[in-house]
């Protein structure tokens, strides 16, 4: 299954709706004016205004009691005319379902999928024809036997008639749906095999999805991974044992939302270029998650494209801001002397990177005020944007901006280094289990142990030691406190051997004079920060862990690893010559499951909304035309909306192969391939294009008017695959679509009914 759940944008939807309704209302008024002038000549204006005002008066005086009376009439009619026999058919089908659905799949988790699909499909397809039929024949039949005449000679508004019918049919279909749904639910529960050790198979996962991008073999961010030749382009791949990564960014990662643990579920695909060794052939490929908090990566990951600035970018990312400043200076010079090193295209990229990534990240920085750096980058980015090949002036402008940026970076190097840490916590690798639902589901506790790298060690020690120093426990009477070792190992989780190492190193620094002891305060001789000191020590390899386990530290996922509640998870493949494939929906945070009933009910809700929409359309159509015509009309709209809506959108957007209607027909007749094009001279081609433009216009209108019924059935796909039906992606659009069609349809139906002679022979 492939889904890329995107939340529904209410604002956009509302805007579209209003504009469409406005257009239709305008058309309606136009038609009305034309009609009234045509039938009444000069008095048409009066006729029109009378009609409109009486219509709106009617709309304003809707009485719920009358609507309910008409609705219950509809219900009684359906009941007494025995329209509910469909339920009997359903029961019969269920009894024989065993025959048709003989366990095709020995694997129970696959079989559940089939059961749920069968049930939901049967339910919707059984009720649909009944509902369509009834709603299209209700009002025309009423008019034919003239019982509607008796009703409209009572003070029942036309709009109430329309509403009452819609309501009555909707209630009927809802009741049937609930009954069938209950039976279906019980049936599924009973058919579901109980797995002996794992509990039930009827799951209803609640996933939280993130955004996905990839890092290529050089570690540069790209939007897609590698293509291994699979015709289905849903997934792209990362290469094993390389710098390739798949990176997910999850937001709203807070303990309030997730509880006190991190639950990750994945469903990756494996691709081997060799079968594997004797051991690995039997096991799956190894994948590893790494939780990464890397501010520098966040800011500068896209910065240095092109040879000119790449070294600068690498220095920035490595946190080596001093060198970055120097490199910037060098670059500034080169910009003047050999501008060819900085082609316009690269400069554009740099400008985009600054504007889109560097500046916003630096400005929104919460841990320190880097506004001046942000400004410097902004200026630099602007200068890069206005660079033109051959224009020496723009290059010297660029050079100036670059130099000033270098200056700022140099000045703020320490601050930047201090406040832009890199923390990487690799998690235990696991074996990828393809297509086995829920097998790659791992729960991580909130506090994780990990082995720190150089930078991590330096920062940790800087923080700890400076803390101890502030508390005055670092020195004691002009000498290094002997209690330091205990302090470190007991209160800060440092292993005893490492605590001793720290002691030794600090002592040697004191002896060497870089640290000054004064009473019980220890200060750095040249006034730089503790972080600088430890950074230097670590780089000089003086702090290599004596403990074989390395510098083991603990990190808290929510406190230490999230940035503005965002969590970055990198996924790597560990086996050489192997690839792991993923798509956005393949890794998610799993919130505690909801009950299967909840998900199933939401799927039923969607089906109910779909049926109600069909009812609305059917009743509206039947206000305008007679029974059979309205039935075919509604059927056509349903079929197009359900099966061909995507196709329509593709044709309108021009992304469908073969062009428009006329062009495709010509291609078929000429036995030609879409990529070759039609065999015609320019004139004919122009004519064809013109015709297709017209047809496309009609299709565009149609695609806006015809509802997309597939939104409703998508909900079923979620629960079939064991996922909860998401509110914002699935249920909300369904509701909005329904309401969006309800309002105009009621008005159109009521208007047609009102301005129509009921007695016309």
């Amino acid at each position: 299954m492939d889904f890329d759940p995107t939340p529904y944008n209410i604002g956009l939807g509302l805007k579209n709706w209003l504009s469409l309704v406005g257009i239709i209302a305008g058309l309606g008024i136009l038609l009305g004016l034309v009609g009234s002038f045509a039938s009444a000549g000069g008095g048409g204006g009066g006729l029109f205004s009378n009609g409109i005002s009486s219509f709106f008066k009617e709309l304003a005086s809707i009485s719920p009691r009358r609507v309910w009376a008409l609705a219950s009439l509809t219900l009684k009619e359906a009941w007494r005319r025995k329209a509910l026999l469909v339920f009997v058919v359903f029961a019969v089908l269920l009894m024989f379902a065993g025959w048709f659905l003989t366990d095709s799949n020995d694997r129970s988790d696959l079989q559940i999928n089939v059961h749920i699909t069968f049930m939901l499909t049967t339910i919707s397809w059984l009720i649909l024809p009944v509902v369509m039929f009834l709603s299209c024949w209700g009002i025309p039949e009423d008019i034919r036997i003239r019982s509607l005449h008796t009703v409209v000679t009572k003070p029942a508004r036309r709009v109430e008639v329309v509403l009452g019918r819609m309501l009555g049919f909707s209630i009927m279909s809802t009741v049937i749906l609930l009954l069938m749904g209950t039976v279906g639910y019980i049936w599924i529960e009973r058919q579901a095999p109980k797995d002996l050790d794992q509990g039930k198979f009827l799951t209803c996962r609640v996933p939280v999805y993130g955004g996905l991008f990839f890092l290529d073999r050089q570690g540069m961010p790209t939007s897609q991974g590698l293509n291994v030749g699979d015709p289905w382009l849903y997934r792209s791949f990362v290469e094993g044992n390389s710098r390739c990564r798949a990176v997910w960014m999850f937001n709203e990662v807070t303990p309030e939302k997730l509880g006190n643990e991190l639950r990750l579920e994945s469903r990756f695909e494996a691709f081997r270029t060799i079968k594997g060794s004797a051991d690995t052939i039997q096991q799956g490929l190894e994948a590893q998650y790494t939780l990464v908090k890397n501010m520098r990566e966040e800011a500068f990951s896209s910065f240095g494209v092109g040879a000119g600035l790449r070294e600068v970018a690498e220095a920035l990312r490595a946190g080596d801001f001093q060198s970055a400043a120097e490199l910037l200076d060098a670059a500034a010079e080169r910009m003047q002397s050999s501008p060819a090193d900085f082609p316009q295209v690269d400069c554009q990229q740099v400008a985009i990177s600054c504007a889109v990534q560097v500046v916003p990240v630096l400005r929104n920085f919460k841990d320190a005020d880097l506004g001046d750096v942000a400004d410097a980058f902004l200026v630099f980015g602007d200068a890069a944007n206005s660079v033109k090949t051959g224009d020496a002036a723009s290059y010297s402008e660029l050079s100036r901006a670059c130099a000033s940026l270098a200056e700022t970076v140099r000045k703020r190097a320490d601050d930047m280094f201090e406040s832009m840490p890199k923390l990487e916590v690799p998690l235990e690798p696991f074996r990828v289990s393809e297509y086995h639902e829920g097998d790659d589901f791992i729960t991580y506790p909130r506090k994780l142990k990990y082995v720190a790298d150089y930078e991590g060690t330096a920062r940790f020690l800087a923080k700890v030691v400076s803390g101890i120093s502030e508390a005055g426990k670092l020195a004691d009477g002009g000498e290094l406190s002997s209690g330091l070792v205990d302090e470190l190992s007991e209160n800060h989780g440092v292993s005893p051997v490492n605590a001793e190492l720290v002691f030794d190193v600090v002592k040697s620094e004191i002896d060497a004079g870089t640290l000054k002891v004064d009473g019980n305060k220890v200060e750095i001789a040249d006034g730089s920060s503790w972080l600088r000191l430890f950074d230097r020590l670590v780089r000089e390899e003086k702090l290599i862990s004596r403990d074989t386990a390395g510098w083991e530290m603990e990190a808290d996922i929510f406190d230490d690893l999230t940035v503005n509640d965002y969590l970055r998870v990198e996924v790597a493949c560990l086996n050489d010559q192997m690839f792991i494939g993923m798509a956005r929906a393949d890794l998610f945070l799993r919130l505690p499951d909801r009950s299967f009933l909840a998900g199933f009910s939401k799927a039923l809700l969607n089906i109910g909304l779909m049926l109600s929409l069909v009812i609305v359309l059917g009743v509206t159509a039947s206000c305008v035309v007679k029974g059979p015509v309205s039935f075919f009309f509604t059927l056509t709209i349903f079929v197009i909306g359900q099966f061909f809506h995507q196709l329509m959108l593709k044709i309108v957007a021009g992304s469908q192969e073969g062009g428009g209607m006329v062009e495709s027909a010509m291609l078929i007749f000429q036995h030609r391939n879409p990529s070759v094009g039609i065999d015609a001279n320019e004139g004919t081609e122009a004519v064809v294009k013109g015709l297709d433009w017209g047809v496309n216009g009609i299709l565009k209108i149609a695609s806006n008017i015809i509802p997309d019924f597939s939104t409703f059935s998508e909900a079923s796909a979620y629960i079939e695959n064991g996922f909860d039906v998401p509110w914002s992606t699935s249920v909300l659009p369904a509701i909005m679509t329904f309401v969006g069609f309800l309002i105009p349809c009621v008005i159109i139906g009521a208007a047609c009914l009102k301005f129509r002679e009921l007695e016309a022979k």
Binding site: S54, R66, R80, R81, I145, T150, P155, E759
Partner: protein
């Protein structure tokens, strides 16, 4: 008579049926103008195809006039609010056949926004009034023609309307039903309601109407009060108790003195309706007997059913 307000005002009403292409097919109503006053029983007569039903439907808003104006109870025909005070008995009872009598009246009552208690009470009264108490739980599709007309009448009166429009009220009814219908119409008139009825049963219209209009091919041909239209001028009718032969002779002589030579003095006849009703009644009381002519001879003169004019 004081000037009464017009319940219905029709001015220059025309209706042309056009076919799909807009060509004129038939002109059903031509420039009709008439008024119906409050509290009267108005009869609309005419042969088949004269435009009676078309007019009624235009009054109700089921058809749109081609030209002209209609005012009902001061409102336009297309105004739904006027329906609060109108009752309509259609030509064929266009009711929902799967409902029973109770449900039918309940449904229509709800359309008037009448509260539940009041609805039940009125429904009860009306059902008893039209004599359908024994069949109130049966679905309408099982009703005979007469029963359907009666329930139709009941629904027309559910809202206690000021104006009642009856289209062929007595068609399909047996003499008893017809009698009852006519009594009812008169009762409605006593209650101050205005009744417009449309029929070709001339005798029935004659019995109940105050004013009549006659249409022919869409045009108004005759309009006026029944009395003044039907009054045979140039004759005087006298009715009195059983007069002896001498008395008859004396009367003849008196009349001859006034110049009337060929007067007709005879025993008046009751009408067949009377005989019928009596037979039915007596048969109900004494089943199994056949009545002789003498027994059934009328002892009372024909009751013309009109109030007011008997001397």
């Amino acid at each position: 008579m004081s000037t009464q307000e017009n319940v219905i005002e029709i001015r220059n009403l025309s209706k042309v049926y056009r076919d799909f292409w807009g060509r004129k097919k038939v002109q059903a109503v031509k420039s009709l103008s008439l008024d119906v006053k409050k509290g009267e029983v108005f009869g609309l007569l005419g042969p088949n195809g004269s435009g009676k039903t078309t007019t009624i439907k235009m009054l109700l808003g089921l058809l749109f006039p081609t030209s002209g104006e209609i005012k009902i109870l001061g409102k336009r025909a297309s105004d739904v609010a006027k329906n609060e005070r109108i009752g309509y008995l259609p030509e064929e009872s266009y009711l929902y056949r799967f409902l029973n009598a109770d449900e039918t009246l309940d449904f229509y009552g709800r359309l008037f926004n009448i509260s539940a208690a009041e609805r039940n009470q009125r429904a009860d009264e009306l059902i008893k009034m039209v004599g359908l108490d024994h069949a109130r739980r049966r679905q309408l599709k099982e009703y005979s023609k007469g029963m359907t007309r009666r329930i139709g009448l009941a629904q027309a009166l559910i809202n206690n309307p000021e104006l009642v429009l009856l289209d062929e009220p007595t068609s399909g009814l047996d003499p008893i039903g017809t009698r009852e219908m006519k009594d009812l119409i008169l009762k409605l008139k006593d209650e101050g309601k205005t009744v417009v009825l449309c029929s070709h049963q001339l005798a029935d219209v004659q019995d109940v109407s105050d004013r009549i209009a006659m249409l022919y091919q869409g045009e108004l041909k005759v309009l006026g009060g029944v009395d003044e239209l039907l009054e045979l001028r140039g004759e005087t009718q006298i009715r009195t108790g059983n007069l002896s032969d001498e008395g008859v002779e004396e009367l003849k002589a008196l009349l001859a003195k006034h110049g009337m030579k060929d007067s007709l003095i005879q025993k008046p006849r009751a009408d067949l309706e009377e005989l019928f009703l009596r037979t039915v009644r007596e048969s109900g009381e004494r089943p199994g007997r056949r009545f002789t002519a003498e027994e059934m001879a009328a002892t009372q003169p024909a009751d013309t059913g009109k109030s007011g004019d008997a001397s």
